[in-house]
């Protein structure tokens, strides 16, 4: 039996104010099972009455050793782990991982696959923002928003099920392209979503954006200035709500994002309300991208025909001996990748999602590090909650949009 240490103030002496040592302020645990911590996050709060004096986040409850597991699998098999990191952005994680593999072994991706990747990544962004908005509303006691958002999210999950047979962990994007082409119903389903969704966003906005209770809770709460944000590595909507126009889709276009016309919503206030507005606007911009991508969806193959890295399509296995050999070799031995490392970053719904993938000349990665946006975004929390009420802390934390699977990996 391990020696369980009693938690003493001595351990946190350098993080709390002197008043905590005399017992003038109170130390309180929030979480790890608190409903508004969005998973298993523990916050140790130093409270003066109801005012937060200091906040010490404690993470790691959801650490599952995904990086270590990926090192033990071949490049093709390791991809299934990527779905399970940020469970609100499965296809986005697939995309980041596949792009890293493609960069490492220099694979080309056909244009049709790129366009479908963009559509899926943007659908996933809407999906993630919907779950965020739902939880955000719930934390601010707006129960109906939660239900409305999940109603729309269901349609996106249905689209994912349509293309891959899975609702969440699809592993649909593969190194060199996609698992298989989308079915004919895909376009109809996405177009129906595009037609319906703008009105639904208007509905959410009608419920929240000008609601006086809502404004009272959000405006001027948790202000983050751009310099602090960059010091703490904050990226994504949170950084853009602080007035920094930095979106990897715009500044370093990947997967053909340069072909699409869209705006990057930026707000300068840096408070919780600005973060809310930025995400709502992002959902509308994503719709624009999906529509453009769908309008000029090129025909053609959806995966590279480089058989040394990409398994042949199922239809060839029965008729071609070579295809069967390639299939067998790729799924058992895998392919060798060169000894070197690449860093590939994409814009996930939460910020810069980076994959540092290092090969060792063999079939398994030497290292696969995930630079996850929630990790860095959460690290700024102690700075922005100081002096606010506990109730505001809940709002601020909800607006950071953390996913614990993303933080703990």
């Amino acid at each position: 039996m391990a020696q369980l240490e009693e938690v003493s103030i001595e351990k946190f002496k350098h993080l709390v104010s002197e008043r905590a040592l005399t017992g003038e302020t109170m130390l309180l645990n929030m979480g790890p099972q608190h409903p508004s911590t969005h998973g298993v996050l523990r916050l140790l709060l130093e409270l003066d009455g109801e005012t937060v004096v200091n906040c010490i986040p404690d993470i790691g409850y959801l650490h599952t050793g995904i990086e270590k597991n990926m090192e033990a699998k071949t490049y093709l098999k390791a991809e299934v782990m990527s779905d399970r990191l940020d469970y609100m952005n499965n296809l986005g994680n697939n995309l980041a991982y596949c792009m890293a593999v493609e960069k490492l072994v220099e694979l080309d991706v056909p244009e049709r696959a790129q366009a479908i990747r963009v559509i899926l990544a943007e659908l996933e962004r809407i999906n993630s923002h919907l779950v965020w908005l739902a939880a955000f509303g719930l934390d601010l006691a707006a129960m109906s928003v939660f239900l409305y958002c999940f109603r729309e999210r269901e349609i996106i999950l249905d689209i994912k099920e349509l293309i891959s047979g899975q609702r969440m962990m699809t592993t649909y994007i593969r190194p060199g392209g996609l698992w298989r082409d989308v079915p004919v119903e895909f376009e109809t389903a996405v177009r129906a979503f595009l037609k319906m969704f703008p009105k639904r966003v208007d509905e959410y906005e009608a419920l929240m954006t000008r609601n006086p209770i809502f404004l009272d809770r959000l405006v001027g709460i948790g202000i983050l200035d751009p310099a602090t944000a960059l010091q703490h590595g904050v990226t994504g909507p949170m950084l853009r709500a602080s007035g920094v126009n930095w979106d990897l889709r715009k500044v370093r276009p990947y997967t053909g994002y340069e072909q699409y016309d869209f705006n990057v919503p930026v707000r300068s206030e840096g408070d919780t309300y600005a973060r809310y507005i930025v995400r709502i606007e992002e959902m509308r911009e994503s719709l624009k991208i999906i529509e453009q991508a769908l309008n000029k969806l090129p025909l053609g193959p959806v995966r590279s025909d480089n058989r040394k890295f990409v398994p042949p399509p199922r239809s060839e296995l029965g008729v071609s001996m070579e295809a069967l050999i390639h299939h067998f070799k790729l799924w058992t031995e895998g392919f060798p990748a060169p000894d070197g490392s690449v860093y590939q970053a994409v814009e996930s719904p939460r910020g810069e999602l980076g994959v540092l993938l290092a090969g060792d000349g063999g079939a398994k990665p030497r290292r696969c590090h995930w630079r996850t946006p929630s990790f860095d975004n959460l690290s700024v929390l102690p700075k922005i909650v100081k002096g606010h009420l506990v109730a505001d802390l809940v709002a601020i934390l909800a607006a950071v949009d953390i996913v614990l699977g993303d933080i703990d990996r």
């Binding site: 990086e67 090192e71 980076g354 540092l356 860095d376």
Partner: protein, 182 residues
């Protein structure tokens, strides 16, 4: 690995080239190019100075990622500590690397330059046992409380290996185990 002098990479970004040259003049670094990325190898003593220079003079405001790669069973160098820097103003990326020997590797803490390094360095200490000297808050971050001196992301740490327990050997196994001792 390919080692090159500055200017040897024909298609290197001109803006990046001046920065790499400045690093070379100030710190005498070497660098490699792989898939269009520049990796600059620093000596461990000069890393903080270099990060400060890059942040203040060349607008690398963001420390995008910080991690390590373990080259076990190779001992020298055993680790590469990686600092992935991003400049928003110039839209550039640069990767600094520090090679560390086996044993008890130490790096100077970068918290004074980039505050994001705080949690990243705690993670490095947890996962690789690379100790950031002068770190203000070196508690365990991701691993369970009371975790002993084992570092899971090191290559010599076994993956998922669990000895089968029976009543006759449970005490013996518990002595060796460093987690889930129930």
């Amino acid at each position: 690995m390919l080692w090159m002098a500055a200017g040897a990479i024909a298609n290197m970004d001109k803006k990046l080239e001046t920065i790499v040259q400045a690093l070379q003049e100030n710190f005498g670094v070497t660098f490699e190019e792989f898939r269009g990325e520049i990796h600059v190898f620093m000596r461990v003593e000069t890393i903080i100075e270099a990060l400060t220079l890059l942040r203040d003079k060349y607008d690398f405001e963001l420390l995008s990622a910080m991690t390590a790669i373990d080259f076990w069973p190779q001992n020298s160098p055993r680790f590469h500590v990686i600092y992935q820097l991003t400049s928003l103003a110039r839209n550039l990326s640069l990767q600094l690397r520090v090679a560390l020997e086996d044993g008890e590797p130490h790096i100077p803490t970068a918290v004074g330059v980039y505050e994001v390094a705080n949690w990243r360095e705690r993670e490095l200490r947890d996962m690789f046992g690379i100790i950031p000297d002068g770190h203000p808050d070196l508690r365990i971050l991701l691993l369970p409380e009371g975790w002993e001196d084992k570092h899971p992301l090191r290559k010599d740490f076994p993956l998922g290996y669990e000895e089968v327990q029976f009543t006759f050997n449970i005490d013996e196994i518990n002595l060796r185990k460093h987690f889930a001792k129930e």
